[in-house]
C-alpha cells in the first residue's frame, strides 16, 4: 500500500512535495555480527507511556519506553491521521516489534534487546530532531546499544 501509486491523489501530492533534507555524505558504522548486536527500537510513531504528555505540533523531543513496559501502557499520540492505527491497536508489534526482538535474542539471532527504546513524532521536520537525536545517541551508548532499528509510520 505504501507504493506511491496506491495512495490517494492528495496524499501522493503531499508525499512528493514534502520538503526533505538531504545530506552531502552518508556516515556508515560497521559493527560485530548480528549475534553480538544489542538492538534498540527508535520509532517516529509518536508513542509514549500512559500518563505522559501527548506529542504536540512540531514536537522535537522524544519519549523513553523501557523494554519491560506493558503494551497496555503504550499510547500513540502522533498528530497525523493519515496512516492506519488499527494495526497497532490490535498488535503493538506492527509498529514496535519488541516481542520479535525478544524472540530473536532468545534464539541467538541477535545478541540482546536494549533496556530502553525511544519514540519521536515523525511529523516534525527531521532537521529539528537533530539535537535530541544526538543526545539520545549518548544515552544509547550508555546502554551498550550498537544497532538501532528505526520504525516509521
Amino acid at each position: 500500500m505504501a507504493r506511491m501509486e496506491d495512495l490517494v491523489e492528495s496524499e501522493q501530492a503531499h508525499m512528493r512535495e514534502l520538503a526533505l533534507p538531504t545530506y552531502e555524505t552518508t556516515p556508515w558504522m560497521d559493527g560485530p555480527p548480528l549475534s553480538e548486536r544489542r538492538v534498540a527500537i527508535v520509532t517516529t510513531a509518536g508513542l509514549g507511556l500512559r500518563g505522559e504528555d501527548a506529542f504536540g505540533i512540531g514536537a522535537a523531543d522524544y519519549r523513553v519506553i523501557p523494554a519491560d513496559t506493558d503494551s497496555g501502557d503504550i499510547l500513540m499520540t502522533h498528530i497525523s491521521v493519515n496512516f492506519d492505527r488499527t494495526g497497532f491497536q490490535d498488535d503493538v508489534n506492527v509498529v514496535f516489534p519488541i516481542d520479535r526482538l525478544r524472540e530473536m535474542a532468545a534464539d541467538g539471532a541477535i545478541g540482546s534487546v536494549a533496556e530502553f527504546h525511544y519514540s519521536f513524532m515523525g511529523a516534525t521536520d527531521p532537521a529539528q530532531l537533530e539535537v535530541s537525536a544526538r543526545a539520545l545517541a549518548g544515552m544509547m551508548r550508555e546502554d551498550k546499544v550498537n544497532a538501532v532499528l528505526l520504525s516509521p509510520v
Binding site: M4, D30, V94, A133, A137, A147, V148, L150, P152
Partner: protein, 239 residues
C-alpha cells in the same frame, strides 16, 4: 526517519530502517533501509502475524551485515497479509445506533448516546485485545467527547487567553480510538478504510467532528486552525 539514521550513525551507532515511502529513502540516502510495500502505519506488516513480522525485522537487521555501503536500499519481497488499506471488504459495524432517548436528538446528545451504545463493544475489545489506546486526554471518553464538542459553542482558553488546542486534539484522539476499538471489537476481516468510512460517514461523532472542523478551520487561533485543516480528517476522507 532517514534523518535520525544520519544523526545516529554520525554519533557512532549503526542503524537500519524500515522505509514506507521508497522515494523518500532514495532522496535522503539513509545508510541502510528496507523498503516495505505495506500500508502507512504498519511498518512491520499485519497484526497477529508474528512469523511475517519476524521476517521483516530479520531482513531489516540483516542489512547491518551488508558491506555494500554507504547506502543500501533493499526491497522486501512480500505484501502484508490481509486486506489492503482501501479495500471495501463488505465489513459493517455490528452496532446500530437508535436515536437518543428523550427530546434532545441534537448532535451532542447523539454523540453521547452512541458512546453509551458502544460501551459493551468497547468492553469486548478490552477483553479481547487486553489493552486500549484510549487515555491520552486523561478524561473518560464521554468527558472527552463533551469537551471536544464544547468548542462549537465556545473555545476554552488558558489563563493567558490562548485557545486550548492540544487538549482538543487529545480529546479528539481518545474519541476516535474508542470508536475504532469498539467498532472492530469482534475479530474479522476489515480494512482500515472500512473503519474510516464508517466513522466519518455513518456516525454522529463523525458528523459532529466534520461540522466542528469546518468551524475551527476559520479559527483565529493558528494552532486550532492547523489541527482542523491538517490533522483531523484523513486525506482518504477528503481532508
Amino acid at each position: 526517519m532517514c534523518g535520525l539514521a544520519h544523526y545516529f550513525e554520525d554519533e557512532g551507532i549503526a542503524t537500519t530502517l524500515i522505509a514506507l515511502v521508497r522515494e523518500h529513502a532514495e532522496t535522503m540516502r539513509a545508510p541502510r533501509a528496507l523498503w516495505v510495500p505495506f500500508e502507512l502505519g504498519r511498518p512491520f506488516g499485519s497484526p497477529g502475524e508474528p512469523a511475517f513480522q519476524r521476517r521483516v525485522v530479520a531482513d531489516a537487521l540483516a542489512l547491518l551485515t551488508s558491506t555494500e555501503g554507504p547506502v543500501v536500499l533493499a526491497d522486501f519481497p512480500e505484501d502484508a497479509p490481509g486486506p489492503k488499506a482501501e479495500d471495501d471488504t463488505g465489513w459493517v459495524c455490528p452496532v446500530s445506533f437508535p436515536p437518543p432517548p428523550g427530546d434532545d436528538t441534537g448532535p451532542v446528545a447523539s454523540l453521547l448516546h452512541e458512546i453509551d451504545t458502544l460501551a459493551p463493544w468497547y468492553q469486548l475489545s478490552m477483553d479481547r485485545r487486553g489493552r486500549s489506546l484510549v487515555g491520552v486526554s486523561g478524561k473518560t471518553v464521554k468527558e472527552a467527547a463533551r469537551f471536544a464538542a464544547s468548542y462549537q459553542d465556545e473555545i476554552p482558553t488558558d489563563e493567558n487567553g490562548r485557545a486550548l488546542s492540544q487538549p482538543f486534539k487529545d480529546a479528539f484522539t481518545d474519541v476516535m480510538a474508542y470508536y475504532s476499538e469498539a467498532g472492530t471489537a469482534q475479530p474479522g476481516r476489515h480494512s482500515s478504510g472500512d473503519t474510516q468510512r464508517w466513522f466519518w460517514q455513518d456516525t454522529a461523532a463523525g458528523h459532529l467532528f466534520l461540522d466542528l472542523r469546518a468551524e475551527l478551520m476559520n479559527s483565529s487561533d493558528k494552532r486550532l486552525q492547523f489541527i482542523a485543516t491538517k490533522v483531523m480528517l484523513p486525506k482518504t476522507q477528503g481532508g
